[in-house]
Subunit: 213 residues, 2 copies
DNA sequence: TTGTTACTGGACTATCAAGTACAGTAATTT
DNA sequence: AAATTACTGTACTTGATAGTCCAGTAACAA
């Protein structure tokens, strides 16, 4: 979106880069960064795990930090993409829509992928502001924005009464970031699915009580 | 609470430990761990910052990891202590009480102390389960528990209608862990105080709409 | 075929930090 | 005073790892 799809076809001479190698590096790096964080992950281990020489990592990404940045940017958008799907939801059935959105968001913020990503990005807060900003904008902010768009539509349809859609969206999604999310980030035992369902129902009930038309 | 106040007066021979040095070490370590995390903080720097020899650090704490654990345990309880104060709140004025509790919790989860603590504890998730568990129990779980106790009292007083106090408490406190908290953890710009006040009011309004008697 | 670029694999350097050793000094008990 | 423990300061060992160098090989364009 920010960039035109393919700025230059780049018909250079010599052997072309192997895009599959690049993918393998990104995926291996993602696993290692998720599990150990930026500091403890070793480039040697990542290269070995990707089945690639260390020099290939450096010729493709330049440094460990830039590899980290590439990993974050590479996965943030697709991970969040599955969350809102707010475009397809019916503004006449807000309760149903909120249940769907909440269920997806809850699954996201309990999943190892997002938890690992959060931990590793929190670990570089301050040291790499651009990555943090990009992550925030492509991640939480975007999810909020899409839910807010839905709330606006429902408000126009008269099925909800939402004065400040961004605030309301933030509030709704926040409800899934409580103790269960803490436990996930700390790698403690997670609430079982029964408890998750109860939380989902209650969050929707609370929201409807406050914003129902 | 878990331990009797002073299990042994310990009248040993020789020079006694200097408790002030121990405090200086803990405080310096806290600053460094907050700012850089466990990995990047160096024991030499901590010792220098505390105005203490490195050997003193090791003879008091044994290792960097155990120093880290000591820091976390040392500060978790006091930090959270200021949060609920639910004991002193009037069960007949839940709206007022929730405003007070929410304001304190909001200030907490926006403050550098708690944010740094969260970042560093998230950084050792999995590697140091005991610290994570202790932090969780002394921190979020305890805050939840105290708010839940208040909600129970208000329910008995007939001013609120709360079937599941723990769930409701979790939901209420969660509302302050949304985008603003993300931004804090990522060291991005924080919402201004006007926005914080708006969030506080709205959170209380939403809660009252769902749980008001 | 030739020039050019991508990749391998291993050896190598440089750096940084955890933890130890040790010899001397300070404080405290008996 | 004597024994004992705490602390200092510096130098040291040890281990890990980011990043480089290099010689050789593979794949592609002209």
């Amino acid at each position: 979106m920010a960039h035109p799809p393919a700025p230059a076809p780049k018909p250079r001479r010599g052997r072309p880069r192997d895009p599959e190698r690049v993918r393998r590096i990104l995926e291996a790096a993602q696993r290692h960064f998720n599990e150990h964080g930026l500091e403890r992950a070793s480039v040697d281990a990542i290269a070995a795990d990707a089945g690639v020489s260390k020099m290939t990592v450096y010729s493709n990404f330049g440094s460990k930090e830039r590899l980290f940045q590439a990993v974050v940017r590479d996965r943030t958008a697709p991970v969040v993409a599955g969350v809102p799907g707010a475009g397809a939801l019916d503004p006449d059935q807000p309760e149903k829509a909120l249940l769907a959105i909440g269920a997806r968001f809850l699954a996201l913020v309990r999943g190892d992928d997002a938890l690992g990503a959060l931990r590793s990005v929190y670990g570089v807060a301050g040291a790499q502001p651009e990555v943090c900003r990009a992550f925030y904008e492509e991640g939480p902010e975007r999810a909020n924005g899409e839910l807010a768009a839905y709330l606006r539509r429902a408000h126009s349809a008269g099925t909800l009464k939402v004065r400040n859609p961004l605030q309301a969206a933030d509030l709704f999604l926040s409800m899934f970031l409580g103790s269960g999310h803490f436990r996930g980030l700390l790698k403690l035992e997670l609430p079982d699915s029964r408890e998750n369902r109860a939380l989902l129902r209650e969050a929707v009930r609370v929201f409807m009580a406050a914003y129902g038309a």
